[in-house]
């Protein structure tokens, strides 16, 4: 009677599955999902590449997605849309002025070479932080998902234009 063997196989299977389940849940857990509401979002520029706030904000899905909405509201898509090319293109790993959050912040706030003006006065620090986090996420973002996300925001104002709601 090899019920013992059966049992052993079963427990093995079970452990595997449980480990998988916990791993999966943990992967999506804790701070990345936290909605930083209240006075939480940073309100001063990054102190440098190793500003701890950078790591926090670029891993926070809520801040990143808010960055996506600021991206549209500030009209960034008019130069940096999905069809953008060359330096304006943001979904490739090539960065003209550095690709970490603090440098992206700097590029948005102070401009970056010819063609990229400074927006430091037109946006608050909080908005730039989230924009930077979103821009940083673009190269990792599947283009179809980016398209899908843009569609979802299609009814919202795009910079100074607002085509009106979708009807």
């Amino acid at each position: 009677m090899d019920a013992g063997k059966v049992r052993h196989r079963a427990l093995e299977q079970m452990h595997k599955a449980i480990a998988l389940l916990m791993a999966a849940v943990l992967a999506g857990a804790c701070t990345p999902e936290k909605r930083s509401i209240g006075p939480a979002p940073p309100s001063t520029p990054p102190t440098g590449p190793d500003d701890p706030r950078a790591a926090r904000i670029e891993t926070n899905v809520f801040d990143v997605s808010e960055g996506g909405r600021h991206f549209r509201w500030a009209g960034c898509g008019q130069c940096h849309g999905r069809s953008a090319s060359g330096f304006a293109r943001l979904d490739d790993p090539a960065w003209r002025c550095g690709g970490d959050v603090s440098r992206i912040y700097a590029s948005i706030a102070n401009g970056c070479g010819p063609g990229m003006p400074a927006f430091g006065d037109r946006l608050t620090s909080e908005q730039i932080w989230r924009l930077a986090a979103y821009v940083k996420s673009l190269p990792k973002l599947d283009p179809h998902l980016r398209q899908r996300g843009d569609n979802a925001l299609a009814g919202e104002p795009d910079g100074r234009q607002w085509k009106g709601p979708l009807t």
Binding site: E156, P165, L166
Partner: protein, 339 residues
């Protein structure tokens, strides 16, 4: 004894009804204080149904009480079968009850159908075109200009002329919201990809309150707006004033708006502030409230909202300005001048 319990329940019901009516009328967001043809029609329908339902409920409770009261009981065979006159009455009662319920339902459905037809055909002069767009978490309101035919935009405060039908086009810029002013009409959803139209004919002067009635995310609770029903003359004056550009007096405040972060999201017509993401501020000071009725429009309100919006309406898309007190004062001074 069950009956008595329900009598208590019923009394409590009446008390709460009284309380409800009182405070309901006090509030400007009550189904029980209609201010338009449509809302009045609906409140009559509601009253009719409410009364009928209450009577039916009492009937059921009485029957239940009678069924349970102490009295001689019919003989029951060991197999549980019951025979005798009572059973015969109960059989006939079943038929009567069925036809009674059916009849009541026909009446109610008929009343509902008629009401629907009445609502579908608003009477009165040429309707006023208004477009209300829901956004997280405020209301973009636009009027068709009688002169230029262009849209005149404002936010969070809806003005309607008395006795004139208004054709309110309801749309959404982001997620699903629901436009609900109980004093004017039932709610109607604002759905991305669709335009719904609500026809209302205000019949009572004064202020009403509306609120988003479809869960729309974090600050769904703080998405309300004011409605003012005014005489046609007042309304024309108001609309003309709203159509005019801001009496922009140059100064530190205006500079902040045009060159600072405000202009990135807000428009002040007649200035270089042309952002679209946020509410139009051209005549901000002419309104009663701020941030979709989160705050009253006052000096303190403006100061607080500009310096700490996230503390007052956590998660709202309005960021903290990060301005020092001096510049904040200048900014507020300018905004207060936007009559």
């Amino acid at each position: 004894m069950e009956g008595s319990a329900d009598v208590i329940l019923y009394k409590r019901g009446l008390l709460t009804l009284a309380a409800g009516l009182l405070s309901g009328c006090a509030g400007q967001q009550s189904v029980l204080s209609p201010a338009s043809d449509q809302a009045r029609t609906l409140s009559w329908l509601g009253l009719l149904m409410g009364v009928i339902c209450l009577l039916i409920y009492l009937l059921v409770v009485v029957l239940l009480g009678l069924a349970l009261r102490r009295r001689a009981r019919p003989a029951i065979s060991p197999t549980g079968e019951v025979s005798g006159p009572v059973e015969g009455w109960l059989q006939r009662g079943l038929t009567i009850w069925a036809s009674f319920v059916a009849a009541v339902l026909v009446v109610l459905a008929g009343a509902s159908f008629v009401t629907d037809r009445i609502l579908a055909t608003p009477r009165g002069p040429a309707p006023l075109d208004v477009r209300v767009t829901g956004q997280q978490w405020w209301w973009r309101i636009a009027y068709r200009s009688p002169i230029t035919g262009e849209w005149i935009e404002t936010a969070n405060e809806l003005h309607l002329p008395l006795d004139r039908p208004a054709r309110i086009e309801l749309t959404s810029a982001d997620v699903i919201h629901s436009f609900w002013v109980p004093g004017l009409h039932g709610k109607l959803d604002m759905i991305p990809g669709r335009a719904n139209v609500l026809a209302v004919t205000p019949r009572k002067l004064g202020w009403l309150r509306g609120q988003c009635a479809e869960f729309c995310g974090l600050e769904h609770a703080l998405m309300a707006f004011d409605v003012k029903v005014e005489t046609p003359a007042e309304f024309q004056a108001w609309l003309a004033h709203q159509a005019a550009p801001a009496q922009a007096r140059a100064g530190p405040g205006l500079a902040l708006i045009e060159n600072g972060a405000c202009g990135g999201c807000h428009t002040v017509r007649g200035t270089r502030a042309k952002g679209r993401a946020g509410p139009d501020l051209t005549h901000l000071a002419s309104r009663r409230a701020l941030a979709a009725k989160t705050l009253s429009l006052s000096h303190g309100g403006l100061m607080g909202w500009i310096t700490q919006p996230q503390a007052l309406k956590p998660g709202a898309e309005m960021p903290a300005s990060g301005l020092d007190p001096e510049r904040t004062k200048a900014l507020v001074a300018y905004l207060e001048a936007l009559k």
